[in-house]
Every structure is written in structure tokens, then in C-alpha cells.
Subunit: 296 residues, 2 copies
């Protein structure tokens, strides 16, 4: 990782922390407990992979900074709400997230439910308030976000994930599940970032879809590798959870070394997809590297 890339990441991560705080009601605004818990769920942690993808894709076409910030915040809010609901007792029942107690532990279950619901609404509000965008493109971005978040995207992937506990999935079924559960939102991050710059032609959209598919799968393969090999303190969440929950993973289906080889292959596919964009795609390339080479 180059120092320039690390500086770029830190700048965006710090900027997002400020911007997302400003896009949420103050912790003192009524109802206080809900707003306090929304801030707890969204701020102060996380790798901000989706915002980084938004900004990196924004670099392709010189997108407006205000629009990128709102698109990035909207995606991170959807992601954060999904983690809050996913950690609840009726789903994964997890007590630790980003090194902190999960929302239903730190507050209570009803608050966790409402925090997730309100963060999803806030995501759409923040993007709908992006008044520097041409309205027609803004509508397209809102549509894409909604589709990626819903039953044909993230929520659908969660449902398949739930239904697959204890089953032996094929590699193809596992990929399908992850393309919805994680991939849809990662793809939306890339495409929304690009759309913050300009309308996309078919070839541009195809290249971005190919890149997104590769990093989406790579992200999940590496998650599975880390879940099997790293410890909870490093991950900031409970390690070994998938095996304990009897969930199918790349490591359980392919084994560890073939999973590592697959991640590397997907990294190269991501690079190849970016060829048409030349130097403007440098940050997207570095993010593909980061996703595959990360340790947590």
C-alpha cells in the first residue's frame, strides 16, 4: 500500500466521520435515546469500505465532492443498519461488533430494531437531499440504492443466508447468496460513485459491474478466510462464528489454500475490468488490493 493511498483513505475516513455526524440528528434531539443509539451504530468505527469505493469510483469522472459525500453516507447507513439488525438475537445473536457491544446489548432490542429502521430511512433522506446533482441522475441513484438494499439485493441475501444454515451449498449457490448479501451494496457503491460524476454508457456500466462482481466475491472469500484464521480482537467481532453457526463458507467448501488462490484470482480480474479507465481508476485498483490483502 502506497503512502499516498493510505493518506487518501485516512482523509476520506475522517471526512466521512464528520459528514455522517452532520447528516444525523444531534444526540440531544428528541427522541434522545434513538438518536444517541443511531450515532453509536454509525459513527466511530468501521473500515468504511463502501464510502471508499464511492470516492474511488467518483475519481473516474471527477465527481462533485458534496454528492460523493452524500452517496457514501447513504451506503454506509444502509450497511450500518444491516449490521445492527443482523446482530439481533433473532438473527445472528452477536454481542460484539467493531470491538464494541452491539446495539441491542448496549441499548435494548426494541431500540436496535428502530435504529436500523431509522438509519435506512435516513440513508434515503441524505441522498434525496443531494441538491448538487441533476435530479434525473439523483432519481437513478436513489432507485439503485433501493434496489440494492431490498429483497433483490442485501435483504434477499440475508434471507438466503438464514435459510442456508446447516445446508451444504454448492460453490455456485454460495456465490449467489453473497452477490446479494454483500455484493449488491458494494456494486451500488461503485456505480453510485461513478453516477455522482456523470451518466454512464453501457460499456462503462459493464466494466464497473465486472469490477464490482470481482471485489464483491473477493471481499467475502477473504471474510471467510479471516473468520477461520484470525482472532476476535483483530477482527473486532466474534471470530470462528461461521463454523460455530454451521454456515457454509468458502473455506469450508474449498479449503483454506484454494480460497486464498481464489481471492488472488479475483483481485486480478478486478484490475482487468478497470483497464478502460486508465490512470483514473488507480484508487479502485488499490481498493481491490486492500480488500484481498487486509488482515481484519
Amino acid at each position: 500500500m502506497s503512502a499516498a493511498f493510505q493518506d487518501w483513505m485516512k482523509t476520506i475516513q475522517a471526512g466521512m466521520e464528520n459528514d455522517m455526524s452532520a447528516y444525523l440528528p444531534a444526540a440531544s434531539a428528541l427522541p434522545q435515546k434513538l438518536h444517541d443509539a443511531m450515532r453509536y451504530a454509525l459513527l466511530g468505527g468501521g473500515k468504511r469500505v463502501r464510502p471508499l469505493l464511492v470516492y474511488a469510483a467518483g475519481n473516474l469522472f471527477g465527481a462533485d465532492a458534496a454528492a460523493l459525500s452524500r452517496a457514501a453516507a447513504a451506503l454506509e447507513m444502509i450497511h450500518a443498519y444491516s449490521l445492527v439488525h443482523d446482530d439481533m438475537p433473532c438473527m445472528d445473536d452477536d454481542a460484539l461488533r467493531r470491538g464494541k457491544p452491539t446495539v441491542h446489548i448496549a441499548y435494548d432490542e426494541a431500540t436496535a430494531l428502530l435504529v436500523g429502521d431509522a438509519l435506512q430511512a435516513q440513508a434515503f433522506a441524505v441522498l434525496a437531499e443531494a441538491d448538487t446533482l441533476p435530479p434525473a441522475r439523483q432519481v437513478a441513484m436513489l432507485r439503485l440504492l433501493a434496489q440494492a438494499a431490498g429483497s433483490a439485493g442485501m435483504c434477499g441475501g440475508q434471507a438466503i443466508d438464514l435459510a442456508s444454515v446447516g445446508l451444504s451449498l454448492t460453490l455456485e449457490q454460495l456465490e449467489q447468496m453473497h452477490q446479494l448479501k454483500t455484493g449488491a451494496l458494494l456494486r451500488a457503491s461503485v456505480v453510485l460513485g461513478a453516477l455522482a460524476g456523470k451518466d454512464l454508457d453501457a460499456a462503462e456500466l459493464q466494466a464497473l459491474n465486472d469490477y464490482s462482481r470481482a471485489i464483491g466475491l473477493a471481499f467475502q472469500v477473504v471474510d471467510d478466510i479471516l473468520d477461520a484464521t484470525a482472532d476476535s480482537a483483530t477482527l473486532g467481532k466474534t471470530a470462528g462464528k461461521d463454523a460455530a453457526d454451521n454456515k457454509p463458507t468458502y473455506v469450508s467448501i474449498l479449503g483454506l489454500e484454494p480460497s486464498q488462490a481464489l481471492a488472488e484470482k479475483l483481485r486480478l480480474e478486478a484490475h482487468a475490468a478497470l483497464a478502460p479507465f486508465g490512470d483514473n481508476a488507480q484508487r479502485l485498483r488499490e481498493l481491490a488490493d486492500l480488500i484481498v490483502q487486509r488482515k481484519a
Copy 2:
């Protein structure tokens, strides 16, 4: 209630059933259990008060039918998701809704959580796909829907409601809670219906806000009256639940007869607010009457 008004309602209710079915993925689409449960939660019941308000307000300015259908469906999806989550064990823990087992009873808790999450996303998708609207007005409608659904609207009202169990609220605090919990979405229904017709000037918006405030409160006052006086079979949900849950209501604070007088006063206020719109507001007037005079 005139026969013409009843026919109008039936036409819209039947039309919404068809349209909302078409706006949801098929029950056979993967993941099937989630899509089946989404249809169970949204279709086949309910008074469709929010869609009726959308269409009635659309009458003010001759709004396009396709845009009204999408706005109405979006509002009903937000409403339906809030009921699914509200009925869950960590919230109101209710087993009966619209005369049927609630979603977490008919399916399971994890599915109920995902159904609510996916219906919220679908609401924004359906409205974002309303391609007969001028994009700038469509963005304004999406913004308004998101604000009404979030922590400064419905979710915020739910949080205040949860926090108020067992407390003795003043009439003012009770009104504030309901203006968020129910009022925000009813107001959004009226304003979105009008916006499906044209941009609103300040006087029009003020008149619609006044109408919405009156019917929003009237709706809740009548809900409290019915909860105290009707039986579960008539209501299609558990009667006497508020008293059993030790929740403050208009009836518990004001008494039954003063609550009935308040509902009638609010009905007249709703009528007065509509004066500037003349005959085009007939359906909105009839809906105010319906909200106050309903028996379930």
C-alpha cells in the same frame, strides 16, 4: 357516507391490491420465503387509509394516475413494514393483525425483521421508479417520504411511544408522540398525493398541513376510543391492548366522552382547512369524516 364515495374507495382499494402485487417480486422469486412473507404482510387486508389520502389529495390538482399509484403503494409499504416490526416480541409482541396471525407468528422472527427491512427499501424503489413525474418533483417526494419515515417522523414516534409506557404523559406530549408516530406518514400521504399533481405554493402546503394535522390527531383519538370500546373481532387486532400495556391514551387522559368531542372538533378543523380548494377537496372531506366515524 355517499354511495359515490364508497364506490370510489372500493375502486382504489381494489386497484391498490393489484398494483401493489405488481410492485412486489413474485412469491416464486428467490428467496421465496421472504417474498411470500412480504406479500402476506402487504396484501389482502387493511383499510388503505394512506393510499386513499394520496388519491384524494391527487384529486385536488388532477394528478397522473401512475404517479398516484406508486406514491400510494410506497406509503402503504412503509406503513405495512412498521406494523410488522411493531408487532414483534421486542416491541408490542402482538399475535393478531388485520384478523390474521402477525408475520413473526405466521413465519418467524428473523423473517419478520427482514420483511420489514425489505418493504421499506421497496417503498423507495417503487417511488423512485415513477417515471411519469418530473425528476425534481420526484426527488422532493422521495425526500419527504424518507423524512416522514425516519427518526424525525414515524420511527421517532415509535421510540417516544416505547419510552412512554407506564408514564403519565400530558395531552401535549401525547399529541407530539402521535404527530410523529402516525401523523408524519398521514401528512406525507396528503402532500405526496398533491405533489403528484403539481409543485405546491406556500399557502397550499399550509392548508394541507393543517388538514393533515387535524386528521392525524383525529385518527389517533378514534383509535384510542375504539381500543377502549370495540372488540378484537371487529378491530381485527387485539382490543384493550393499550390499557393492558399501561400506555397513555386520549381516553385514559381525557375520558371517553371528551375524546369523542375532540374527534368531532378535529373533523371540523379538517374541513375548515380545505376551504381554499373548493369542490376538488370533496374526497379529502369525506376521508376526514370516515376517519372520525369509522367503527374499526
